[in-house]
């Protein structure tokens, strides 16, 4: 690829770097649009799950990857989104207002909670959000009129454009619904990142002291980022409720919060691509392991005894290797490959050598 000559300031912040870049994404969208005709019902369901977890990952990416605040409690906001959506739909609301309401509810609750929570930093923030996630589990049992108590609630079919959209009866329509929401949110996210607010998030992530010195209202940036992040995760929660068809307090355990963070890390913190890569890994890894297991026992006669929790363990191992060897996650791997291709014969070995860093105390901020 040739080097592009920038002649306007807009070239720095345009969503697409050029026609070739735009064409790549157009191709991706075309592939995604064609997917239902290629894949069977089962794999279409898995692909829908990838879309929904990408949406949840995008939410977490905004606060953790782009604003630098670790949240170990985002499943709580998925729960808020899911329960709001289902409760409103069961009370006769149309799907679209209910979906918007679930985004707004989780966003507003997130923004309100963020004021006291975001006064903390680093590890204190992580544990506070983790506690939030545990508390929501209990609340979703107690708030029975909304959440259906221990039994949970079932998702009604979505009436949209004169048809009933249901995950099993009309998987294609449900897939397109999720895809539309995801594309709209992703475009909004990219636009947010190049706006003043988005850049103030990045400034807060890189150094709070310098951001404040440059006139960024740190408290406002954090609250806005947390609120928007929770709103996106709430949307994902609402869609997840329709994918799972029934949700109760067990659908959004602490473990989901932790997995969501690991998903974002494995994808690559601080990159929009990372949210998608992470979701692909999280959703498809168990399938891959199952397929691999069948393949091994059928062809080579090697049978891997089915230990419970095998896929979680492999996922953890993947995380372990990723943190040690490639802290920028799958996005980092992809970036290196892309650079290698672009520079083809000129790639040098030490190009991405990490500089030596030393840990400084966070007890003095």
């Amino acid at each position: 690829m040739s080097n592009r000559f920038k002649s306007r300031y807009d070239d720095d912040i345009n969503l697409f770097e050029g026609r070739w870049h735009l064409a790549q994404y157009a191709l991706l969208i075309a592939l995604l649009l064609a997917a239902p005709w290629v894949l069977g019902a089962y794999y279409l369901g898995e692909l829908t799950a990838v879309l929904i977890w990408s949406l949840a990952g995008l939410g977490l990416m905004l606060i953790s990857g782009h604003t630098g605040q670790i949240s170990l409690g985002h499943a709580a906001f998925m729960a808020i989104g899911a329960f709001t959506n289902l409760a409103l739909m069961l009370r006769g609301w149309h799907f679209i207002p209910a979906l918007l309401a679930s985004a707004i509810t989780s966003g507003v609750i997130g923004a309100i909670l963020s004021r006291p929570i975001l006064r903390m930093s680093g590890i204190y923030l992580a544990i506070a959000t983790l506690a939030l996630s545990i508390i929501i589990e209990d609340i979703s049992i107690m708030a029975e009129p909304i959440t259906g108590g221990v039994a949970g609630v079932f998702a009604p079919p979505i009436a949209l454009f004169g048809m009933d959209i249901d995950r099993y009866a009309t998987p294609k329509a449900f897939y397109y619904l999720c895809l539309t929401v995801l594309v709209v949110v992703t475009l909004g996210y990219l636009n947010l990142l190049r706006s003043a607010s988005g850049r103030s998030f990045l400034a807060v992530r890189d150094s709070e002291v310098s951001a404040r010195a440059l006139g960024v209202n740190v408290a406002r940036a954090k609250t806005l980022s947390f609120g928007l992040s929770c709103a996106m995760t709430g949307l994902a929660g609402a869609l997840y409720a329709h994918l799972a068809q029934a949700v109760n307090y067990e659908s959004f355990l602490v473990l989901i919060s932790i997995t969501l963070l690991l998903q974002v890390v494995i994808g690559g913190l601080g990159s929009v691509h990372g949210a998608f890569f992470g979701a692909i890994v999280v959703v498809l890894l168990p399938q891959t392991i199952a397929i691999l297991r069948d393949f091994l026992s059928n062809t080579a006669g090697v049978s891997i005894a089915a230990y419970p929790g095998m896929d979680t363990a492999l996922f953890a191992l993947l995380i372990l290797l990723m943190v040690i060897y490639e802290p920028r996650g799958l996005y980092g791997v992809w970036f290196k490959i892309r650079t290698w291709l672009q520079l083809f014969p000129l790639y040098r070995k030490g190009m991405f050598r990490r500089t030596r860093t030393y840990l400084k105390t966070e007890r003095q901020r």
Binding site: I127, L255, I258, L262, A316, P327, R356
Partner: protein, 291 residues
């Protein structure tokens, strides 16, 4: 009398939380890392204790089994730091959080493969024995737990305040580079502190198994609760960890008794309240940087 009885069991539980919180604080104090796998290390310690002490396994005397479990888990902690954690030496705190979460998942899996998923408990010589003070029943196990915890906390406190090694650990946590310049072998210090926290986790695990049953996933929620205890006390303060552990341990049975709806989440509510009022915990160790 009922209240006093609740208090005794609360204190004993709180001491186990405190011991586990001590493990968190040790590592935090020496390397500013947070070990999210501490609960799972405790679980490993409990299973090692069961393996050495129970009649169906090695059938060793209690004290010898405890020592062996502590030494083995200490060695495990040392090796873990030497071969896994050293690879991300010097990277931000966040990397360590993710790495230890992943390690916790792996430990749970390995323990499940080795020891199975059925709850097992430790057979101790003093099982079921109680001391009576008036009408107050004090199980011997609880007394042992309380004594061990108080002893261990004061020992570690003096270790950090008075010995060369302890002070070196504190220095290396505050600024790794400066500690290097002062001639402190920071990497070796990290390995030693991980070994030490392994020992503490094993002791906590064996005491935990003496009181109730263990299974591989017990470490996750118990670890989070103990971490909440450490945070309540102000991460980085040993007496704070013990105090936080006691608070969590006492609040839990009382909330379960008088406010059953919030019994499960009372420790976390307590932690959130403390954190909102004092973002650095009760014995805060955070100060604003002067530029």
């Amino acid at each position: 009398m009922d209240i006093l009885q609740l208090l005794v069991s609360g204190i004993a539980n709180g001491c186990i939380y405190g011991l586990l919180a001590l493990g968190f604080v040790l590592i935090y104090k020496a390397s500013e890392a947070v070990n999210f796998a501490q609960g799972d290390m405790m679980m490993l310690g409990a299973f090692l204790g069961i393996t050495f002490i129970n009649a169906s396994y090695a059938d060793l005397p209690f004290l010898i089994g405890l020592t062996l479990a502590a030494l083995l888990l200490g060695l495990f902690g040392y090796l873990l730091d030497r071969f896994v954690l050293r690879a991300i030496f010097g990277q931000p705190q966040f990397a360590m959080v993710i790495l230890t979460i992943a390690l916790g998942f792996l430990m749970r899996f390995v323990a499940g493969v080795i020891w199975g998923h059925d709850p097992t408990s430790l057979e101790t010589p003093f099982i079921g024995q109680v001391w009576m003070i008036g009408e107050l029943m004090i199980p011997v196990v609880d007394a042992l737990i309380i004594l061990t915890t108080v002893g261990l906390t004061s020992l570690l406190y003096f270790f950090f305040a008075r010995t060369r090694l302890g002070v070196a650990m504190q220095a290396s946590s505050q600024n790794q580079m400066a500690a290097y310049y002062m001639g402190i072998p920071v990497k070796r210090i990290n390995a030693i502190v991980w070994a030490l926290s392994g020992v503490v986790a094993a002791i906590a695990g064996v005491l935990f198994a003496a009181k109730g049953a263990v299974e591989p996933s017990v470490g996750l929620l118990f670890g989070i609760k103990a971490f909440a205890a450490a945070v309540i006390g102000g991460l980085g303060s040993l007496p704070g960890a013990l105090l936080g552990g006691l608070l969590v341990g006492i609040v839990e049975p009382f909330a379960g008794r008088f406010l059953p709806e919030v019994g499960q989440i009372a420790p976390y509510l307590l932690m959130l309240v403390v954190l909102v009022l004092r973002p650095g915990g009760l014995f805060a160790q955070i100060s604003q940087k002067k530029v």
